[in-house]
């Protein structure tokens, strides 16, 4: 702010430039070291996952690159092809480091993808409930209550028992168990926003309902949605890993972190810890980094905590 003086920039522009809610939000977010480090760690993980095919020492899905003779090597040992396996190998002779980076890719895709779809579904239904009121509202909220009264893992288990394994099915299951959180959050803030003058103004202009809902109401309900979304991504990743560990999630051809951990289970008892240990660490770091961001976002975006 110091380098902008009143004679170079009109006063109005100065206010707009410095005090947009977005800028304030960004500066408040980065004011917290914990949240910033969470963001940095998460960014690194995401970049690793995106770049997986170019940075991993081995393509874990290419059977031609695997050698069963390299199976269950300890971390740091050198395999038959002269490659150093820094995190060891699994029972198929697959390099764990490569497997983990590829696994991250699947875990993140499923977690973020399902959270995104669930937020679309949940936010639309939440808006509809708040704006429609009456019967629509009570019908949607009954469904939300029903959904929230059952533990997510149980509902997901039930859905996967019907649908069977598969990445697509896991996403469907996660969307079904998660939409209610978004719907409840959006409805809550939409109920407040709905009574504001700008909505009344939009109604007086005879704008179509859809436009009012998505262009006027939704943007003002975004802050709590972002908080719930962040935390739900972490929950989705953890739930996917759990389901895959139980053998109900992703298929063996597309191992996520949970499935990698499950693969190491039987070798654990003979002291070969690394097959389960390292994917678990990757999972833990991912979830913690997202939770740290989410925790702080909640404080930043909560007007009640504003001084």
């Amino acid at each position: 702010m110091s380098d902008i003086t009143a004679d170079t920039v009109p006063v109005v522009a100065l206010v707009v430039k410095d005090e947009t809610p977005f800028r304030r939000f960004v500066s408040e977010f980065f004011a917290s070291k914990i949240a910033t480090s969470g963001l940095i760690v998460f960014t690194i993980i995401a970049v690793l996952a995106i770049l997986a095919p170019w940075i991993t020492p081995q393509n874990p899905y290419d059977l031609a690159q695997l050698d069963i003779m390299d199976g269950r090597l300890e971390p740091g040992s050198v395999g038959g092809s002269g490659m150093t396996h820094w995190l060891g190998t699994d029972d198929q002779g697959r390099d764990m480091l490569s497997g983990i980076i590829y696994g991250l890719r699947i875990s993140l895709t499923v977690g973020i993808g399902s959270a995104f779809i669930a937020s679309l579904v949940g936010a639309s239904l939440g808006l509809l409930a708040a704006y429609g009121g009456g019967r629509t509202d009570s019908l949607i909220m009954r469904l939300v209550d029903l959904q929230l009264s059952f533990p997510t893992i149980l509902a997901a288990l039930m859905i996967l028992a019907f649908l069977g394994k598969g990445v697509g099915n896991v996403v469907i299951a996660l969307v079904i168990v998660e939409w209610a959180y978004y719907a409840r959050t959006v409805r809550g803030s939409a109920l407040v926003e709905r009574r504001r003058e700008y909505i009344e103004a939009a109604q007086c202009l005879a704008l179509p309902t859809r436009r009012i809902l998505f262009r006027h109401l939704l943007p003002n309900c975004l802050p709590p949605l972002i908080v719930v979304g962040t935390i739900q991504v972490a929950r989705a990743i953890a739930l996917e890993a759990t389901l895959s560990f139980l053998g109900l999630g992703v298929p063996i051809t597309e191992p996520s972190l949970g499935l990698l951990i499950a693969n190491g289970y039987e070798y654990m008892l003979s002291g070969k810890y690394w097959i389960s240990f390292y994917p678990g660490i990757a999972l833990l770091v991912t979830i913690v980094s997202i939770n740290l961001m989410g925790d702080h976002l909640r404080d930043v975006l909560n007007p009640r905590l504003k001084k």
Binding site: I153, T242, F245, L246, S276, I287, N291
Partner: protein, 324 residues
């Protein structure tokens, strides 16, 4: 009160009915039990006889009506795999799961309360910060992975605790329990700790925020002004008042603890309902899946109803007639 109770019961019944339909259609419309249950070598005659015996030749709605009619009489079908009544199969496994869930809840309160109390009384000390960081970790750690690590450390490397099964059990009230024998307790410790991790974090956070709020109350100030020892203020005046929300939440969580035991039981080969359902899903043993889900749904309806009623008793401000 009676009207409210009746309406809630009717509601519960409707939910049960809806769930039974969803569960039934979900389980029976997808996949083909014939392929799994009848040997591929069986000839046409044998196949047809087996299909008839299992009632799979009837149209779906008729199968559902038969199922519903029998369910009302407590018959949820026979397990395809064990050839035993599904309900009986699950009820046999229930004590093991309940034992685990109650053990975990107990542990959560035993560990979480003192830690939360400390963190609430001395919010700025290093110990409290460590406890709070630990509670974030407790929320973030994937349960199943922690279970594996526990096995690795305490069963494989140190060899202190057994990693599978219930161990020796003793008869009590006509059922077999692990917590009555030394060996059984040794088997119970790791699964219970594993299952309680999440709850410990929850109890720590609840207790801490409860203590911090209660410390600012007038009656605490008054007790201090009266010259009571800090010990007495903490343990009598503060502690008693934070107990209500903690106990309520922990009780509420019992249902989800039972649901989450699916994961813990699978890791530690604990022979409870959770392990049974995972095994049944893997071999598509439909009557058992359906029976398990129906029992769980019923359990949740009962828990939710009980909590609603309890709330109104504990807090007169909550009016049962409520929204109408």
């Amino acid at each position: 009160m009676t009207v409210y109770l009746l309406r809630r019961l009717l509601q519960a019944l409707l939910v049960m009915l809806a769930m039974s339909l969803i569960v039934f259609v979900g389980v029976y419309a997808i996949g083909d039990p014939v392929e799994i249950l009848i040997s591929p070598d069986a000839d046409q005659m044998e196949r047809e006889r087996a299909i008839k015996a299992l009632g799979l030749d009837l149209p779906l709605w008729q199968q559902y009506l038969t199922f519903l009619f029998r369910a009302v009489q407590g018959d949820l079908g026979r397990s395809f795999v064990f050839n035993e009544p599904a309900l009986q199969l699950i009820l046999q496994k229930m004590p093991a799961t309940l034992e685990l869930a109650v053990g975990a809840t107990f542990m959560a309160v035993l560990i979480g309360l003192p830690l939360g109390l400390y963190a609430g009384l001395k919010p700025d000390s290093a110990g409290s910060k460590a406890i709070m960081a630990g509670s974030i970790l407790g929320f973030s750690l994937p349960t199943f992975w922690v279970g594996l690590m526990l096995i690795m450390v305490f069963a494989v490397q140190l060899g202190w605790l057994p990693s599978t099964g219930r161990g020796e059990t003793a008869q009590f009230l006509g059922l077999r329990w692990s917590f009555l024998t030394r060996d059984g307790i040794a088997h119970l410790i790791m699964p219970a700790v594993n299952l309680s991790l999440f709850k410990i974090s929850l109890v720590v956070r609840l207790t801490r925020s409860g203590v911090r709020e209660t410390m600012l109350m007038d009656y605490v100030k008054f007790a201090r002004a009266k010259g009571l020892s800090p010990r007495r203020v903490t343990y009598v005046h503060v502690f008693k008042n934070i107990l209500i929300p903690v106990v309520t939440v922990v009780g509420l969580e019992l249902g989800s603890t039972i649901a989450f035991s699916v994961v813990t039981e699978s890791i530690f080969a604990w022979p409870g309902m959770g392990k049974l359902i995972i095994d049944s899903i893997n071999v598509l043993d439909r009557p058992v899946i359906v029976a398990y889900l129906m029992i769980i749904v019923m359990m949740f309806i009962v828990i939710n109803l009980a909590v609603d009623l309890l709330y109104s008793t504990l807090d007169p401000r909550v009016r049962l007639e409520g929204k109408s």
